[in-house]
Amino acid sequence: MRVVATEDDSLVRAAQRGDQVAFGRLFERYTRLVHGVLLSRLGKADADDLTQEVFLVAFEKLPALAEPDSFGAWLAVIARNRATDFLRKRPRESEILPDLPTFDPRRAEAEQVLEVIRGLPEAYREPLVLRLEEGMTGPEIAARTGLTPDSARVNLHRGMKLLKERMKSDE
């Protein structure tokens, strides 16, 4: 993991100097993290849209990042704040146009599971979404978010246990 972190450090430093290619690489490497953080709080369409915005904000603020090795955690904070801001300003349900109905039963089931995950305590939501939906491994989650591996592991397992219980009770 340290190798990954070192690679990311150098990419962040290059991006801070204005290297567009390095920023592009960071975009590739961290899209799953940002999208997962957003998706653990928002619907898919909003998460998809805001993923872009998070990177735009990050690009603007990147020169001010003092510790390149905390890029992932910093980016996750931006994503969380953007999601919170979005939810705070979001119109009430009656005032927004409804999303297009989902006719794909698998997609509908996935949305249902995601809703259950969103109902879990906050500490469990992100690791579960990042692991199950974005396909990241536990060590990756820890490295990208700045959590210790032990914390990530505990959150992942407790979250999974809780998710299974909730899904059973919903059946």
């Binding site: 290619v21 799953r32 990177f55 979005f86 939906e133 974005e134 397992h157 999974m160």
Partner: protein, 275 residues
Amino acid sequence: MNSDYLWDGTGAVDPEVARLEELLSELRYERDWQPVVRPRRRGPIIAALAAAACVAVLVTWSATRQSTSVTSEPAPTSAAAAGTPEVVNPFANERAPRRARSNDVVNPFKSAPSANKSTPRSPGSAEVVDPFKGSPRATHSASKPAELLDPFKGKTSAPPTTTGRNGVVNSWATSADKKSLGASDVAPVIARQRSEIASKCWTPARDEAPKSAPKSARVVLTLRIAASGRVLSATASDPAGYPGLGSCIAGRARNWVFPVSSSGATINVPFIFSR
């Protein structure tokens, strides 16, 4: 529950975790902004032709000036002739500035610190004539229909890894190689316009919106960008409750200038506004 499988995907597969993985993968970031596959350096053939062109130009130049300094100039081209992968592609260095002059396009990334650092310019390269200018190979990308790209819809998977001489590279390639627009080209341009869009378009639209207007608005701006970086067309529909918002954004977007590319692109840029 198999804890190893949940943790890092190793060990015996936990069927419940695997089922959820497969199910939830439906929700992944699916905006398939396909990295534009384009020809990379053509290897020894191009390198040899480049070397020949360089030598021809230099010899002509030196002959007309009656100079005897020819032997000091071809050093970079001899490396190119050897066909080493690390050779600096003289066309990559020269093509962008030449276009910029002829089209009078301001390339916002021209002065970026990293833009040319990786490809130091050789003393003689300024005289190189591009033998591929106007050739079928050089215009290959331009002949293809514009692809619908979303600059922010990146694949979450690893980028294309085929990087052989005759293989492909993705649009995140180095600036010196860059011929097609990628997210890293487009995002900074749009990022610089956000505050203006907010103050000139969103604020007036919000102030004039009726009370019954939704508290958020989503505008998808579609840009057709020419190879020169100029915006050929910009369209955006007005969201419900905010007349003029989309047309205001589109109107401003027509003046944006993107980096020079080989074939331009059509991109969708979603904007979300909320009160």
